[in-house]
Amino acid sequence: MAKWARRNDMILHLHRAGHGTYTRQKTHGVSFRVIAKWMRMAGVDHIHAGTVVGKLEGDPNVIKGIYSTCRDTVTKQNLEQGVFFDQDWAGLRKVMPVASGGIHAGQMHQLLTYLGEDVVLQFGGGTIGHPQGIQAGATANRVALEVMVKARNEGRDIWNEGPQILADAAKWCSPLRAALDTWKDVTFDYASTDTADFVPTPTSA
């Protein structure tokens, strides 16, 4: 399929149907990190790699391990993230991770902190559900993203100042104002069941 997609000017997207199986059932046998590695080698262009904050909940460490598998040139062993050995990806092409599922402009500081900028952020309901229409929804998301990347590059602490940065941008961008008002209370704060098997034990010095 990857070869067909390249020949026919198509992008090959891997949608993660069956998310519940991967994240709520530890004993099904295959970690999504394995699927991600397999798909990188198979030539997939983008893959649903987990979101941390959306409704497709994920443990931040497990998600980091999956993102490393998609994006690194060299992945170092990291047991907390489920990476059991060093992996040199040589010239193997990267896969663009995709985050989606119940995300909205108000979470931009969290998304950028957890996932970085080399990621496709898919706001579906977070665009189409905008009270002023789809174009306003897209504008709100783009403004929120740009204002957050700009603040991060300027050295600001977006994890703590994020909501204030968005509120300041909403003063001159009414679509963002409406988006923040619409989705301000929407969070999915699940405890993920798909966690790494390795948990570090703190040792007292």
Binding site: V149, K150, E154
Partner: protein
């Protein structure tokens, strides 16, 4: 119609202080800065005119800001962008690119309909500015 290409184009135009902060971030990442300009705002026009060579050895943001100022002086009525190129293995591409100057008047784009075989129509866009010859588009 404000052209929205590159990063930060949905934000109000960046001040020189804000441009400098982004250049400093790029330099801290080890990226090389270059300055380019064009008077053809078509979104698929990737190859803008180079304002000098990319500054691979530049370490101080002041050098890039001087180039931006000189380019603005020479081409005030054009789009000017700052690019940051990452030469590290696995990227070897532009990591950050944003507009730092735009013409006073941006006339926008016309939708063109081309009738092809059968009843089909092919759509494309053309900048009103690009209907004039190069160099006379934003006078």
């Amino acid at each position: 119609m404000k052209v929205t290409q590159g990063t930060f184009s949905f934000l109000p135009d960046l001040t020189d202080k804000e441009i400098r902060a982004q250049v400093e971030y790029a330099l801290a990442q080890g990226w090389a800065i270059s300055v380019e300009y064009t008077d053809d705002p078509h979104p698929r026009n990737y190859y803008w005119e180079m304002w000098g060579n990319p500054m691979f050895d530049l370490r101080d943001a002041a050098g890039a800001m001087t180039e931006v100022a000189d380019c603005r002086k020479a081409h005030p009525q054009t789009y000017i962008r700052v690019n940051a190129f990452d030469s590290s293995r696995g990227f070897e591409t532009t990591r950050l690119s944003f507009i730092v100057n735009r013409p006073a008047n941006e006339p926008g784009f016309a939708l063109k309909r081309q009738e092809v075989g059968g009843r089909q129509i092919q759509y494309t866009i053309e900048s009103y500015a690009a209907q004039k010859p190069e160099g006379q588009r934003y006078e």
